[in-house]
């Protein structure tokens, strides 16, 4: 008795999100699905819940092969999923959210449904005011509402996709209690997470997924060293560091608080000297981007002091930051960094310091040819930005950095680039560093962080979690810290 998958495959374009996934889970167990961002966990769960159709492979529940073409099929056999952002209808009442999609006669009997809501939520230990709007519920309460609804529909398998994102510690404890009691009552509970600590605390068994494949399966407890290694793979660091001597501090943050959405960076003090490289580690969306955007002047800190070269840039505009020598390269090269539809030459004209009304296109073409040579961009002055490969787009962005820069802010500078392009990008960046530019960059690649940073700031759940000098840490510890766990 239990849930099993056999050789599940699913691709999006050229990306193989699930590349032959097979596992078995016994009824009555609380099973963790662990993996870093983009490992293929969510895709797999959406296949199990019928949201996606697998390209190939098979799902069995209690010995029967399932035909999962839509969520309706999954619900029918008792597989329910709680999405990371609970899929409730915000302007509808709790009661309407509860009954929407449920089977029954056309004529809605709301008093009957209300009784059912009270009965099922009572059994689970939840309380709802059925007339409240879903909008007024906390994320934790929305989850409870979804759990109630799925249990009412007769779920045998409940999938929780990163359920602890955006809920309070108290709600988390309550959620864990609920999950345990559901498993004790014979349900299969799948707990999908990238947070080691939670999986260790909660789960009976675990499956680790990396790059669309199952790399590890075992009953808990497993030491977190093993789990980190399975999640991230082996981390190799070459010893080719030659740190430049640091100059005076360039970027200085003193007790800065920045808020953006669920990100809440509090009381951060950090400085980055001339010639220093600071790496920002953490899972995607843990706050690195928010910090970079605040340093770039795209987001005003709510309190604290932000200065560059001793100039106070609190509440200063993006233009003021540019004037102070701050330059930001966002991760969305084509979305945020470049302009689709305009050429290399036009990009360089846009960023040049020439402020004349007329453009000398011959000179602009000549200048573009020069930059194309300098940065080995594969393209012509007239090539539009979107025609360039990712690596060449990044080279163009590097070419657009003004000569006199004090602070470079880079978001995933080598993401999606092949090894050669990545090495080239860093070669140019390190030249800048030797000239006394400070560099702050975010990356998901532990290897890159360890190789190029002098200091690493680890983000977790929307705040700075730890800071390490690069000589004092290693990939294993970073893996732990990224998962929100201090090595004990």
């Amino acid at each position: 008795m239990g849930l099993a998958t056999h050789d599940i495959r699913k691709h999006f374009g050229t990306i193989r999100a699930n590349d032959g996934i097979s596992f078995t889970i016994e009824s009555g167990s609380l099973h963790g699905i662990l993996g870093e961002n983009g490992a293929g966990k969510s895709t797999l769960m959406k296949i199990l819940s019928g949201f996606y159709e697998a390209d190939s492979g098979e799902v069995d529940l209690d010995g029967e092969t399932l035909d999962l073409r839509s969520p309706a099929d999954a619900i029918k056999v008792g597989i329910g999923m709680l999405h990371q952002d609970p899929l409730v209808f915000l302007p509808f009442t709790v009661l309407d959210n509860f009954v929407l999609g449920s089977p029954g006669p056309q004529r809605l009997d709301r008093s009957d449904a209300r009784a059912e809501l009270e009965r099922v939520s009572g059994e689970l230990g939840f309380r709802f005011d059925s007339e409240r709007l879903a909008r007024d519920l906390t994320v934790g309460e929305r989850q409870q509402l979804e759990i109630t609804r799925l249990m009412w529909l007769g779920a045998k398998v409940l999938i929780f996709d990163e359920p602890t994102t955006g809920i309070s510690a108290t709600q988390r404890d309550q959620l864990f209690l609920t999950l345990r009691s559901l498993a004790e009552n014979g349900l299969i509970v799948l707990f999908v997470s990238h947070k080691l600590e939670e999986v260790e605390e909660l789960c009976d068994s675990v499956t680790v997924i990396r790059q669309g494949k199952v790399v590890f399966e075992a009953a808990m407890p497993i030491t977190s060293e093993v789990l980190v290694e399975k999640m991230f793979g082996k981390v190799f660091v070459e010893e080719d560091r030659d740190p430049a001597p640091f100059g005076a501090p360039v970027l200085e943050l003193s007790r800065v608080t920045i808020e953006e959405g669920t990100t809440h960076i509090e009381d951060l003090s950090l400085s980055c000297a001339a010639g220093e490289v600071v790496g920002l580690a953490g899972l995607e969306g843990s706050g690195q981007r928010t910090l970079l955007r605040a340093c770039a002047g795209l987001l005003a800190p709510s309190s604290g002091l932000l200065s560059v070269d001793g100039n106070n840039l609190n509440k200063a505009s993006y233009r003021d930051h540019l004037a102070a020598g701050v330059h930001y390269l966002p991760a969305g090269r084509l979305e945020e960094g470049l302009v689709e539809g305009i050429s290399i030459a036009e990009h360089l004209v846009l960023t040049s310091e020439d402020t004349g009304f007329f453009i000398n296109w011959d000179a602009a073409d000549e200048a573009a040819r020069q930059e194309i040579d300098d940065y080995s961009i594969k393209g012509r002055p007239s090539s539009p930005a979107e025609a360039l490969s990712g690596g060449n787009q990044q080279r163009l962005l590097l070419a657009m950095i003004p000569d006199e820069v004090r602070l470079l802010l880079l978001e995933h500078p080598t993401r999606g680039l092949d090894v050669g392009s990545a090495a080239y990008v860093w070669q140019r960046l390190l030249e800048r560093r030797s000239d006394g530019t400070s560099i702050v960059f975010s990356s998901a690649d532990l290897d890159e962080l360890l190789r190029y940073s002098d200091r690493i700031v680890v983000f977790f759940a929307g705040d700075v979690f730890a800071m390490r000098n690069v000589g004092e840490t290693d990939g294993e510890e970073l893996g732990h810290l990224i998962g929100g766990k201090v090595r004990g």
């Binding site: 949201f51 969520p71 009442t93 009954v99 929407l100 006669p105 004529r107």
Partner: protein, 313 residues
């Protein structure tokens, strides 16, 4: 007084049917922007077919098909080809309006059949109420039915809840097993058919006969009334009647106050803007928080997924 109210209700009937249709369509998440053209082309088609056959009812059927076909183009290009609903709707508006002028040119001035009056026995004898509500023809009774049925389906049936879910958060509806795109397609077609029926009502019931300016601007007005009505059938109906009242009033007062008669027909537009400012104010929402029963009626939120394309992956 009785006669005035009676004629307001009769004059507003086509607009009521058209706005109910568009409310259903938009509530499911699709914007049928082609109303101005749909109304005109279906008014023309309805008249011409009824004129040939000699039967008003057949004209209504043909007009409903025209409205449904235009709506089906918008729904299917949006669902299958992921085209922008606004762009397709706008192009269809221009196309349908010109097509109506071109094809209907030789029928201008002809007299076609009309919808017979049908006072409801007994009910129409009730003093005042009977004269106002029950001394009409099938089109007007159809408009009453449209309001009642739309309201009932929206708020008292599972189908209506699913319909609203699809327009509000298609991923959520899909995760609950609702067939998002199938529902969107058919509700758009239904809404379009109602718009078609409204078009025929203008040429076969309200004004009799076809001319190019018969439904001029009424499609745009219908779209505005749906917004003003906050996508709630009763408030949308109220908006349609308010517009009908101002038109009838302008007509009746044109001898007495010629100046006023000039102003009244355009009064709905500034009124709508003021009404929109009012319904979007926070105070208005707070009334809803205190009286949950009124909340639906006072709410003014557009369906969150209106105008978007739902893709599973």
């Amino acid at each position: 007084m009785e006669a005035t109210l009676n004629s307001i209700i009769a004059a507003a009937a086509p607009l009521v049917i058209a706005t109910m249709g568009e409310t259903i369509t938009e509530k499911s998440g699709v914007v049928n922007l082609s109303l101005e053209g749909s109304l005109r082309l279906s008014a023309m088609t309805g008249f011409v077919v009824a004129f040939w056959v000699g039967h008003a009812l057949v004209g209504f059927g043909a007009a409903a098909i025209v409205g449904a076909a235009i709506a089906a183009i918008i729904a299917s290009t949006s669902i299958r080809l992921k085209l922008n609903q606004i762009a397709v709707g706008f192009v269809l508006t221009l196309l349908a309006a010109d097509l109506a002028s071109f094809l209907g040119d030789s029928f201008v001035g002809e007299r076609g059949p009309r919808v017979p009056a049908l006072p409801i026995p007994i009910l129409s004898d009730i003093p005042f109420v009977g004269k106002v509500f029950f001394d009409h023809d099938l089109v007007v009774y159809g408009s009453f039915l449209a309001i009642g049925v739309t309201w009932f389906v929206f708020y008292r049936t599972r189908a209506g809840l699913n319909l609203q879910g699809v327009g509000e958060r298609p991923e959520g509806a899909f995760a609950r097993g609702v067939k998002v795109n199938t529902l969107r397609f058919w509700y758009t077609v239904l809404g379009g058919a109602m718009v078609g029926i409204a078009g025929a009502a203008y040429s076969l019931d309200v004004k009799l006969g076809w001319r190019e300016t018969l439904t001029l601007n009424l499609g745009w007005i219908a779209l505005a009334i749906v917004i003003f009505g906050g996508w709630h059938p009763l408030r949308v109906a109220f908006g349609a009647y308010l517009f009908g009242a101002l038109q009838v009033l302008a007509f009746q007062l044109q001898d007495v106050f010629p100046g006023l008669a000039q102003v009244l027909p355009i009064a709905p537009f500034p009124l709508m803007i003021i009404a929109l400012v009012f319904v979007y104010s926070s105070g208005f929402r707070r009334i809803g928080d205190h009286f949950p029963r009124l909340r639906n009626l006072l709410g003014s939120e557009a369906p969150a997924a209106m105008g978007t394309v739902f893709e599973r992956e």
